[in-house]
Amino acid sequence: MANYIGSSLKRKEDRRFITGKGTYTDDIVLPNMTYAYIVRSPHAHARIKAIHTDKALAHPGVVAVFTGKDLQDDGVNPLPTGWQITDSMIEPPHPVVAVDRVRYVGDPVAVVVAESRAAAKDAAELVEVDYEVLPAVVDATKAIEDGAPLVHDEAPNNLSFTWELGDKAATDEALSKAAHITRLEIINQRLIPNAMEPRSAIGDYHPARDELTLYTSSQNPHLIRLLMCAFVLGIPEHKVRVISPDVGGGFGSKIFHYPEEVIVSWSSRKLGRPVKWTAERSESFLTDAHGRDHYTVAEMGMDEDGTILALRVNTIANLGAYLSTFAGGIPTWLYGTLLAGQYKYPHIYVQTKGVFTHTTPVDAYRGAGRPEATFVLERLMDTAARELGMDPAEFRRKNFIPADAFPYETPVVLTYDSGNYEGSLEKAMQLIDYKKWREEQAKARNQGRLIGIGISCYIEACGIAPSKVAGAIGVRAGLYEGASIRVHPTGQVTVYTGAHSHGQGHETTFAQIVADGLGISPDNVEVVHGDTAQIPFGMGTYGSRSLAVGGSAIWRAVEKIREKAKKIAAHKLEASEDDIVFEDGKWVVKGTDRALTLGEIALTAYVPHDYPEGLEPGLEENSFYDPSNFTFPFGTHISVVEIDPETGKVQILRYVAVDDVGNVINPMIVEGQVHGGLAQGIGQALWEGAVYDENGQLLTGSMMDYAIPKADDLPHFEVDRTVTPCPHNPLGVKGAGETGTIASTACIANAVVDAVSHLGIKDIPMPLTPERVWRAIHGK
């Protein structure tokens, strides 16, 4: 019997993708379909004085033109936010289509529905909007100043919330007694996710059945249905089916409930015809929720011998114009709680101000809060080590939480499940030959060459999360996961999971789990995801939760199937239940060669002629798994860079990633996740960054200006692992989807600064473009 768990099985889903047979939302064509084009505000802040739609309506092929007022008059409610950060958090309404004011460039203003995309787009040019342009504010640090233009009248100083965590008094006191304080001012720049598939949605309403199907490129179909039905449209959930078919990447940006999902659903109900909307890339730049955008002042205090005493962090987080679905939680709970990192120090205080600006809403982007926390902490670790005259690896080692201290409770409310931080650091240092590179660096400096070595030791809290904890920290949703396993009479299996794959390979990983669990081939396991009509319930995929939570739910369902199968096997094999064991993929009478396979048992379950008394026929089980804690993957990444002193260009010479994500189901897929995460994290360090002008125009609004890493930008990554199983979920797994992003940004920034630190440079703001690095080197 093959052991599928732990093997690099080729992905089951790939055949359709490599032959062009994937089905993404925009690939779906329905009979009688219409197309929506959305007129968007070109101004960051303006009052809408009037909207003239008559010319657009008269354009050939136009079916309807709707404005925000049409939706409002029809009882469409604003979009909800799903995370309440403080009791006093200010949540201004977020209209699906703007009614009297627009608050960012891209805010929907009107919707043109037509027989073709071309007609809709042509007619959209004929919609005339009279704006009274108002002053805008784009920088969160300026937005909280007195007299700044207000994004929402109900939010004075543009403040949605001030959130804090940790013991301020103790932290202040510890810092006041510290022998040395390292201070950094950090801008974690705004990023634009750019999943390769632009968002798309189709509303398909059947008047006779009063049923609505929404196809949407979402990571999160069940939650979208809940939010849209219960909060926005006020329609019965059981009459709505949300399907997220193949989704071309998400990285967080497709978690959220977007206006366009409501627009196509509502329009379809109005018109009785399917309505499709697909973003053009320039629309994606404006309207996909952005990521990061923090301004932070961080101070770390040490005693004489380099033991960390306390950390104080003040962050101003730009939330954009409205609160997106998880917006508040990212720069607070998913950020502040991670500031202990891998280190044992007693006092942390973090304060975050969540600030509205006239920019695209900001929400989770791969890593979501945790890359920002890692960046703050790991930049401080390197800077502090340098200031103390210690080797940065040594300084970290000195302050690590020791391997025997788990479970470990941090000063910022988390309890780490398991870890071996020294282990991953050691392994990474060996792999890259740290000592040799330090020698190389010294030699290079003598020759006027600039070589830098960057270390980043990270911790991640993921596999989000126990529902009870989620509730306590203001999440307006449970964070369990649902699964259902249906064993067909032939012994083949369909697995229904509430997790959603948009590239992560669930159809394979989950099949491996079920195959091992039930003694069948993964070829006989079909994984269904992304359809609310088929799956009991789900919380979607984000926060590296699919395997840890969704996989565990599947495992629980497997156990239930095994229990029932055991009863059937005992009956058929005329043995006591206690004597039946599951071995080598079969139900065996202990110590004999008498055994039944799943197929034999399943047939019996569906043709129960000879069957245990009182047992229900059929073989199908549901499970809802609510974890008892987050999982805490960790690791060490080390990079070596060389900077061309004449141009400031950074070249990555080596990149070693040692991650610990607990047990690994499919190493090939885990490595692939790490590679992709690295590309995005390195992208932030070196190239990516959203730039607005002071009037709120997005200047990096296309792939011509926003630099997404390309094949020849990136090095060959050396990826390895240590394995410290998660003690609290049945598979012993931790999340693996975000580690690369979390570690790599700080890793590269540390390497770049290390390369030029002997020139007296303490910090260079990201992205570390040639120009910025060159200016730093040449003091300009």
């Binding site: 995309r117 787009k121 042509d122 040019e125 190239w687 011509m704 630099a707 997404i708 930008d713 473009t769």
Partner: protein, 236 residues
């Protein structure tokens, strides 16, 4: 992603293209490789009334060496320049520079004539053309004329081409013994346009002195220009 509507006409010869140009006037644009025009049309930043597709005009798609001159037809793609043995042996820097334009897919369709006529301030070919002292053949209703590269690049997106004219050929010198040329480019990480690109050609005399130097810079001004002070400093 959907341009405004327009009239599409395919021209099968230079003659036909010129007739259409004069007939359709200012509202007409020539379509060669399409990699500047079509993106602008997709974003509706440009909406020509008529598009005259010249991409199929065979007579403009060849490379020919004639003594110490290398003639490249206006519709020769970047990929052809990059891979042509004739170009590699006669004027290797051109091949090397062509290999740096955009990305391979852009190079598969983009043309030298299109690039020069478009005259993007950060494009690569203008720097090469200017540095190597190439000549641009412009053909209009009254026949062909030759424009020296030094006179061709007028400003941002502006050339010496007159309304009704089109580029039909670009003629480069064959680099002889003692002459070397190079192109170095610092690419924008997103667009791969030149943040700055420098083309230089140096001819040495028998004694190893610089007989002549030409240096052209792209990306650093409204249009490509010659770095005359650098040239003077290096000559002699």
């Amino acid at each position: 992603m959907i341009p405004n509507n327009f009239e599409y006409i395919r021209a099968n010869s230079v003659q036909e293209a010129l007739q259409l140009l004069s007939q359709k006037g200012d509202g007409a644009r020539l379509l060669a490789g399409g990699h500047s025009l079509i993106p602008a049309m997709k974003l509706r930043l440009n909406a020509p009334e008529t598009v005259i597709d010249i991409s199929g005009i065979q007579e403009l798609a060849s490379i020919r060496r004639d003594g110490d001159r290398l003639h490249i037809g206006a519709l020769v793609t970047h990929r052809t320049v990059e891979t042509s043995d004739e170009v590699k042996s006669s004027c290797p820097v051109l091949s090397e520079a062509a290999a740096l334009i955009g990305d391979p897919l852009v190079r598969n369709r983009g043309t030298i004539g299109g690039s020069l006529a478009h005259c993007d301030p950060a494009a690569d070919y203008p720097a090469l053309t200017l540095c190597l002292g190439a000549e641009i053949e412009a053909t209009g209703p009254s026949g062909s004329r030759t424009i020296a590269a030094d006179d061709f690049f007028v400003g941002m997106f502006e050339t010496a081409l007159q309304s009704g004219e089109m580029i039909t050929r670009v003629t480069f010198p064959v680099l002889g013994k003692g002459t070397g040329a190079a192109y170095e480019k610092f690419s924008h990480p997103a667009s791969r346009f030149a943040v700055v690109g420098v083309a230089a050609m140096v001819t040495l005399d028998g004694g190893g002195n610089c007989n002549s130097v030409r240096v052209a810079i792209t990306g650093a001004g409204p249009s490509v220009f010659r770095a005359t002070k650098v040239e003077q400093a290096l000559t002699g």
